[in-house]
Amino acid sequence: MTRFSLGKYLLPTYVFLTFLFLMVPIGYTFAFSFNDSIKSNIIWRGFTFDNWLNVCDQAGVCGAFGNSLLVAITATAVSTVLGTMIAIALVRYRFKFRSATNLLLFLPLATPEVVMGAGLAAQFLDFGWTKGLATVIIAHVMFTLSFVVVTVKARVATLDPALEEAGRDLYASPIQVFWKITFPLLLPGILSAAMLAFALSFDDFIITQFNSGSVDTFPKFVYTAAARGIPPEANVVGSFVFIVAIAIVIAVQVRSAIKKRKLLSK
């Protein structure tokens, strides 16, 4: 189905060029992670593996990275559990305040981070809580929750209720039905949601800046370093995370493609 006769190539060319454009900063960051820089990583001086091999030599980088990991893992765990519970309730159960629940879950998605960050900071001030790791984790659970609900909900909606009914028909108690039937079938969606929550938490800056006090996460480290010049070790960490993430995404897609082909071939 072509739009104009030369349109056949117009769209693909446009898409290709746009994707090149999207990849530019990624390429730049990756390239400059190999820069043999002295102080600030702005001018290219020469190629070196040193940044990659001695990443933690640069003060603060590994510490910040470790904090980001810790926060992301903890927040993801809590958020995934709470969010999955909500998603199941939303799809499978009838209850009265459904509209209000949908709205409450939707609002964090529609609220600018600066508002959520400032609000939480104001609240912690009022409570008298000192800002640190705990407040960051609390904040991260809060804003990832809705994303988890959206992702898991999509998966729950496609789960045939007859499967759970068959489980009950075949002598499984409600708890058994959940663990043996519902949960295994929801698992791909739950894992998706967890990965999404993890990514959002790891990369979060604005809400973190307002609520972390003196604790440094990786994005915070980069932001403060931006004034003087971001060290190449930060590029290393950024590139490393990127490679791992892309590898996981590709692995997941390849795995499901293989699975699909195996199912169809027999």
Binding site: A162, L163, E165, A166, G167, D169, Y171, A172, S173
Partner: protein
């Protein structure tokens, strides 16, 4: 091999069952008794409440009122996983994340009985699918999935097996084949089967007893031949097979025969085959019991004769020809004539008479919808 699965089936009885949903009543005052070991069909159009009834027996819905007695014991309060009843679901509901073998073994495992896998293998052998034990359900054809669903239910030796329109998704030829197989398995294992369907041919073919449901209640219950030959209500007469129907006021009735006047003609049936003998009643006759004649037949008290009329439509269905005959002042009648090898003797437009024996008429207890009583 089937002897592994013979259990002492139990009688099922539904007493005064009623199910209400917000806004409508799905089932009202349902009473039903199914003796052990029988193949019972619950037949009706969509929305008549048959699936709701089946789900109440399985425990997936709770009745608003009434008792469900299995072997004399009321199971209405029991949860589904506590009932010795198993279901073959309409879309099979096979667990996609388990192998076929594990699917079949599931119920055995849940009940913590011994040797789940060997029992599952035997069940699969009974439906001739033991070679597919390690496949996933998604890799099987519709017919194979249906048999796995059956094995998964049967392996648990339930007192009662519920089948929720299990053949609906299969094509015609496969469906016919599965009907024969299902009936054969039921007779082998001697379990009680309750089969819910909207396909009247299927119900009449497989069941020992058929209950016709309409709008939440049972219209008529009995052996298929009885239901077909002597329908009691207009709904049953029209749902099972086709009928020619005549509505008129009773003109004479005696212990032998009852007659009505229909648009100036007299139509007679046997009194013992009439549900109602006073006022305005409906008398019907099956098209295959009628004959057409090219010349006027001689008057005979044992025959109903109508005509002359014009043949307005002829349909060839392989086994028979179906004729529509428009008789002025009477209406359009349908006549089935079996194709016995001779080419059609009449063509469109021919003038014929229609007759049938009075013992083939049946008198209904109510009138077809849309017809009002005249006084």
């Amino acid at each position: 091999m089937a002897t592994e699965f013979i259990a002492r089936g139990q009688d099922l009885e539904l007493k005064g069952i009623r199910k209400e949903f917000p806004g409508f009543v799905a089932v009202d005052n349902l009473n039903l008794k199914i003796p052990a070991g029988e193949f019972f069909a619950l037949l009706g159009p969509s929305g008549c409440g048959k699936t709701t009834t089946l789900r109440m027996i399985a425990g997936l819905e709770s009745p608003s009122k009434g008792e469900i007695l299995l072997g004399g014991k009321d199971i209405a309060g029991m949860k589904p996983h506590e009932r010795p009843v198993n279901t073959v679901f309409q879309n099979y509901a096979l667990f996609p994340h388990m192998s076929v073998l594990e699917n079949v073994a599931f119920g055995i495992r849940q009940r913590k009985l011994t040797d789940p896998l060997s029992k599952a293998e035997k069940a699969l052998a009974m439906v001739e699918l033991e070679h597919l034990a390690q496949r996933r359900p998604q890799q099987l054809s519709g017919g194979q999935q249906q048999r796995v669903a059956l094995a998964r239910a049967l392996v648990n030796r339930p007192s009662l097996l519920l089948l929720d329109e299990p053949l609906g998704a299969l094509d015609l030829k496969l469906r016919r084949q599965m009907q024969i197989e299902l009936k054969a398995i039921q007779m082998e294992v001697g379990l009680t089967f309750l089969h819910v369907t909207h396909d009247q041919e299927e119900a009449m073919d497989m069941a020992d007893t058929v209950a016709v449901m309409n709008q939440g209640h049972i219209e008529q219950l009995g052996a298929p031949e009885v239901l077909y030959d002597r329908p009691k209500t207009a709904f049953v007469a029209k749902f099972l097979g086709q009928s020619n129907m005549f509505v008129g006021k009773v003109t004479e009735t005696n212990p032998e025969t009852t007659s009505i006047e229909y648009k100036g003609k007299k139509i007679t049936g046997l009194t013992k085959r009439s549900e109602k003998v006073t006022g305005v009643i409906a008398i019907g006759v099956r098209p295959e019991k009628t004959y057409f004649h090219e010349t006027q037949p001689i008057d005979n008290p044992g025959l109903n004769i109508l005509g002359p009329g014009e043949i307005t439509d002829i349909r060839f269905t392989g086994v028979s020809n179906q004729y529509q005959i428009d008789i002025p002042g009477v209406g359009v009648m349908t006549v089935f004539a079996q194709n016995v090898g001779r080419s059609p003797v009449v063509e469109l437009g021919a003038q014929v008479y229609v007759s049938w024996k009075i013992e083939h008429s049946f008198g209904l207890s109510d009138l077809p919808s849309g017809v009002e009583e005249e006084h």
